[in-house]
């Protein structure tokens, strides 16, 4: 059971990294759009 929680913690950290990557991609894309127009 503690193993389950440990792995959940690991997986949620990976998830958060993925979410942050999406946000960074969006930041770059929107910045490009601002520059373009």
């Amino acid at each position: 059971a503690s193993r389950f929680l440990e792995e959940e913690t690991l997986r949620s950290q990976e998830l958060l990294q993925r979410l942050d990557a999406h946000i960074e991609d969006m930041r770059e894309d929107t910045s490009q759009t601002v520059r373009k127009y």
Partner: protein, 53 residues
């Protein structure tokens, strides 16, 4: 400049979503940990009862 402003608004919006997701994940984990604790206690009680019988 209007685009810059829109960009800020969108970035803030997505940041709020991130915060909400983070809070939800933490709450889920706490609920799971509590449920596991309750289950362990219940099984110990049940086993003790069976043993006594």
């Amino acid at each position: 400049a209007g685009l810059e402003e829109m960009k800020d608004q969108y970035m803030r919006a997505v940041g709020k979503i991130r915060g909400d997701m983070l809070r939800y994940l933490q709450e889920s984990k706490e609920r799971a940990a509590q449920m596991i604790r309750q289950e362990v206690l219940r099984e110990r009680r049940d086993t003790a009862r069976k043993m006594r019988r």
